[in-house]
């Protein structure tokens, strides 16, 4: 698979979190990820989409954008909501920090540990975007070329 993309839009319903995992895992399977890596991608996706539903839109409902790209043997996942946004990005990224007392504050920790690259962009009142990248471990040399 040289290059491919998938753009998905859906409403912020809890039921769509599992759907987003299925979509990302099936798309990612076009690269040579191990089962374990696909599990990691599923968790990272689950966390990012759950955050849009719970934190981004809270009691209201809005749309979530899921943009997947395969380029140069790497998977990129961009997840966007148009919800409340994040006041303090550094605080949000702090492990176990959560604005919701029922939650563990581990979503961003999991995204960071399971993916090779993570950025979080947000504007209060406008929304939040997470960009994650991951490259299959096997079949790539350290210079990034295929074996």
């Amino acid at each position: 698979m040289d290059s491919n993309y998938l753009k998905v839009e859906f409403p912020s319903l809890p039921e769509n979190v599992s759907l987003s995992r299925v979509i990302v895992a099936s798309f990612a399977a076009q690269l040579d990820f191990t089962l374990n890596e696909l599990e990691e991608i599923r968790v990272a996706t689950s966390e990012a989409v759950s955050n849009c539903v719970i934190h981004g839109y809270r009691e209201s409902q809005g749309r979530i954008l899921l943009e997947l790209t395969i380029k140069d043997g790497e998977l990129e996942i961009v997840i966007t909501d148009y919800g409340c946004g994040i006041q303090d990005l550094d605080l949000a990224k702090t492990p176990t920090y959560s604005t919701d007392p029922e939650r563990m504050g581990l979503g961003l920790v999991f995204m960071e540990s399971f993916m090779n690259y993570l950025t979080l962009e947000s504007e209060v009142g406008k929304g939040t975007r997470v960009t994650m990248r991951k490259r299959p471990e096997r079949g790539t040399n350290h210079d990034g070329s295929k074996q």
Partner: protein, 115 residues
Amino acid sequence: MNIEINRSGSVLIVRIQGELDLSTAPLFREKVEAELEQFEGVKHLLLDLEETPFIDSSGLGVILGRFKHISQRGGRLSAINVSDHVRRIFELSGLLKIMSIQSTLEDALNSLKER
């Protein structure tokens, strides 16, 4: 997802059938809380994860919430049939500090009822 609950003395055995995430976590919470309210003799929580291929931080959150509830009664938390992947999620989250993973139902029941 489906939740199957059985009791063995002071232990509540909860079998999670399906993925535990944001959409299924509320069902887990409701079912387990209902049992804890009804049976005050129940102290310990034993999770059977044989049919649980996936848990994320929303799932960990409701498990931790139930742990907080039973620890008020002096109860403890165990899990059996944990896949490698779910074990890693437990590890990373620090949940292994409060939860013991056992190999068999018998081991788990014995260790929970010990004290």
